[in-house]
Amino acid sequence: MIAAVIAAAPALPLDEAGKYVAAAFVVFVAVIVIYVAIMATKLQRMSRELHELNAAVEARERGEAARAEAAKR
């Protein structure tokens, strides 16, 4: 489908101006990608912290269950 769109599209005049236009669009996309990468790093950190909290809750629940079991005996 992409090949068909490109084939149907008019030829772009990629002469001297082409590199500047390409640079402007690449800069735009690059800044957005860098921002998304920074956000992904933050998300990773939060995910790690959530994992730690989950582990802490599980440990606490296991401890409580063990205490309850011991009290029954």
Partner: protein, 262 residues
């Protein structure tokens, strides 16, 4: 729930940006005067417009913060200005590339539009250091709001002053007397503005959701593991959201009888 509607906003932004790029390269006609270089305008100008509007939006949120003293408005003002600064950098870079292609120089100091845009950037670049210099979160939020309002008011005044100036060489995309753009260009430009606005809204939503989630995690850690498990807050330019209000039986127990009755 944080980040509500993010998926729909992400999809809409992706669709709008894809449509913009497709229209720019395969639909909009070549400019008779500038030729292919004019394609840069479909990124540069919408980014610049969204930047200036975002600064004003940051000022509006700051007004709401000063009126209500609610921290969420300070957060929104901070995020709007933060993302606007990123857009501002984008505007400066794409503008410089266009200037090099069209004028042969990366920067022209006697061009009012360029210099005024740089002044706006430098003005708002002091916003983060200002916040960072104030340790008390309450004072930080208040002073930052006052700054955001003053700087935000400067933006439209600056725009009008530059537009009223007669000695300029910078092309006017939104022409006043020359008849404006042809239909295909205008449509592409309009969709580009919508796409950049959606992108701004999306980045703001991500940033706000990330900050709120981080604070919620911090509060959860404190509740589960105790105060010692939470590292003390260092000095930061980002707004402090404080501890979220307790919910459930704990919240009811902490309220006074008058509050419960009301």
């Amino acid at each position: 729930m944080y980040g509500k509607g993010l998926r729909a906003l992400s999809l809409a932004t992706f669709a709008a940006l894809t449509a913009t790029f497709a229209l720019v390269f395969f639909y909009a006609p070549l400019d008779a005067d500038q030729g292919f270089i004019q394609k840069i305008f479909y990124v540069h100008v919408p980014v610049a417009i969204v930047t200036l509007c975002a600064y004003v939006l940051g000022a509006v949120f700051a007004i709401l913060h000063l009126r209500t003293r609610e921290r969420r408005w300070d957060l929104r003002s901070y995020v709007a200005i933060h993302i606007a600064l990123i857009f501002n950098v984008l505007g400066l870079l794409t503008g410089a590339i266009w200037a090099k292609a069209s004028w042969g120089h990366w920067w022209v100091w006697d061009e009012p539009t360029l210099v005024s845009y740089l002044i706006v950037f430098l003005l708002f670049a002091t916003y983060q250091p200002l916040r960072f210099s104030i340790e008390d979160p309450e004072r930080q939020a208040r002073y930052a709001s006052v700054f955001a309002i003053m700087a935000g008011a400067f933006v439209p005044l600056n725009f009008i002053a530059v537009r009223a100036a007669t000695a300029y060489v910078h092309p006017r995309v939104l022409a006043t007397s020359e008849g404006g753009m042809p239909g295909q260009m205008a449509l592409t430009f309009l969709i580009a503005i919508v796409a950049m606005t959606l992108l701004f809204a999306l980045l703001c939503s991500y940033e706000i959701a990330a900050k709120q989630t981080r604070w919620q995690l911090r509060a959860l850690r404190r509740r589960l593991l105790g105060g010692d498990a939470v590292a003390p807050l260092g000095r930061s330019a980002a707004p402090s959201l404080g501890e979220p209000a307790p919910r459930g039986p704990a919240a009811r127990a902490s309220r006074s009888p008058a509050e419960v009755a009301s």
